[in-house]
Symmetry: C4
Subunit: 219 residues, 4 copies
């Protein structure tokens, strides 16, 4: 906060210019809190079997809820890591990045709703729509992260000094691959809804399994 | 936190004086968390269509809930940006700013309730009162931000050194315009309630669309 | 975080000693988040009148809920400010302060439950118990803040260098006065429950009105 | 954030290398928020006696809920302190530590569900399974903290300079003891479920009582 201010007032002496920037620490703190709440709200949807029913069969019967919990935890966690990966190259925000971030968080905070919707309809007659709505939510969120990357990469006043173009290009490529995969899942949702759910599971499992592989390779 | 302390104890040597100031980092962290929770609680009110009903007609039928979600997300997000815009000029807090901030957060945390109330009664016989209550909540919250600005601007010990009077005057003008618009919406609510909702939508859409225009103008 | 570590490793060279200290930034961040959640959960208990009922009479009828909301918002906010006022004199934590803080947060996070209990029974046959339980919750929370103050004040390694004994004595006196007032309210609860509620209201209103008086005196 | 970046870019000059690291401040802020939400959600499960029932008998009847609240508050608080104790030795994160942390938080955020499950079935026919599921949740969470410790301890680029091997060995020993105790409780759950609950209570009470003993020994 303080360093931020010193830097801002040091680089752009006149207060008018400094007034165009917003503190990155609040950008991060607010985003971290929203991500944390959204990822934790998911657990409220897990049904506890009533005391008169046997535990394991009741848990097994509500497998779609646990599946939705796992998939959405992995996606929201993944979006959060992408967000942290993006902001580590930023040194301050401006009004546009703050508002783009809010629109991003709007779609992030809709994910518990979309998850609930997909889980409730996944095996029903309206599965295509419900599974596609979930994909659309993921797509819009990913598009906003890309817009935020685009905005920061084009305004050198927002990024740290030593970002090289190769890092930016690599980030763009990763975002593009992810957007294409989600777009494919949405198309698949209208043909074979459960196959689209399969793509979501594959992406989520890949994400949750990777650290263990990462540890094994390293140590 | 630490820099804060050094500065406080550096400027005002005697501990008695230092005791009059409160750390800005906790002011911000607590406020960010409250804003994040309030903005995220809204999603709990979105009704998921039961698995026996077709998805799209059910979602279309609950359009007031989605409208309320969008409007309140935009307003709470906007208040948060105003708050971050104000505190970037502050370097520490005092007991008055901490308590004014609490009263502000009291009205912020009432917004999910007011939203729910407006959405439930918007098309009913008591629409004028429900829509006006929502406006009154926005007005009180905006008045408290203005009071916080007023308090900080009048105590040079609370603000960073290089704030110029032009920035402060501009902030006052923006706050006044916003307060007048909300006051107008409250009056309109008693005559044509849905027109007041229209004003809320216009303000919210303007807020959410602006970053995209901002990006387009810049790049 | 970083400054914290530098200071710790600078003062106590051997890692064994450094291992006895815990970072104050996480102490504060976790506490701020818990306070923010607890203060915001209260709004979930406010009943929205159904769309078929007139708004104002329905709101008027649920006045105890709004009263409980206001009182608890003021108390939780007040405890948070006390907490921030205490930690501004600390420069690091230890395992005892971290655990005392957890027990404090245990009682803070019980307040929405105690509030709900008091509000539901305030006008019923069991009002004395319900109103006294609320007071007991406030008392235990206040006792834990005092214990935290006691612990920090007796371990010079935890506090910043320039704390004088007068500040510490003044903090003790304030804590003692508050504890006595709450103890009195608990006793009153068993005789005239609504009078104890009156003491809670008086303390809460005093707390929420004070900043406005503070502003008026200053400017 | 800023110091973090300066250090990263100072040590590893090329941006490619810096791109492998993730900021510890967001790691901590996100984790703190998740811990805070999970520990606070527990209070939503405490049943408020309806206004027509006497307070104390109703509260006494729902003792399993209060017991679950206390046990889980103590465990989640204890995990949070372990987490803070681990990260104070870290100076930055990488993609593996960020993802391991997410898997850890996945199990932490399941604890309110497991608590609810154990409390609902503790006195029923399916107590062994319900009590063992709670233990399994604690075990998996503890295993992930150990994995995080293992990963950080084996990558010197992630830890602060002055960590000695004795501290790391002591941390490992503590983790191992805790894992063995939880594994024992899971085995006991299948023989005498309430004895396993007794082990949970003993660990929780020990944790909550310890600070008071710590204070008494010190002052």
């Amino acid at each position: 906060m303080d360093n931020e201010k010193q830097r801002v007032s040091g680089t752009d002496r006149d207060a008018e210019a400094a007034g165009n920037f917003y503190p990155l620490d609040r950008f991060n703190a607010f985003s971290d809190a929203v991500f944390a709440i959204v990822i934790t709200l998911l657990v409220l949807d897990l049904p506890v079997p009533p005391s008169t029913e046997p535990v394991l069969p009741a848990l097994a019967e509500s497998w779609p809820d646990f599946l939705g919990y796992l998939i959405s935890f992995a996606f929201i966690g993944g979006i959060w890591i992408s967000h942290a990966g993006l902001t580590r190259y930023m040194r301050r925000g401006d009004i546009v990045s703050f508002r783009l971030n809010l629109v991003l968080l709007l779609f992030v905070s809709l994910l518990p709703f979309s998850t609930h919707l997909m889980v409730a309809h996944m095996l029903g007659a309206d599965a295509p729509v419900a599974v596609a709505v979930y994909g659309a939510n993921l797509f819009l969120e990913a598009a906003l992260i890309t817009a935020l990357l685009h905005h920061a990469a084009h305004d050198r006043q927002l990024v740290v000094d030593d970002v090289d173009d190769a890092s930016v290009s690599r980030a763009y490529r990763q975002r593009r691959t992810y957007l294409i995969l989600i777009a494919l899942a949405i198309i698949v949702a209208f043909i074979v809804p459960l196959a689209a759910v399969g793509i979501y599971i594959a992406l989520a499992v890949a994400f949750l399994i990777q650290p263990l592989i990462g540890m094994w390779r390293k140590h």
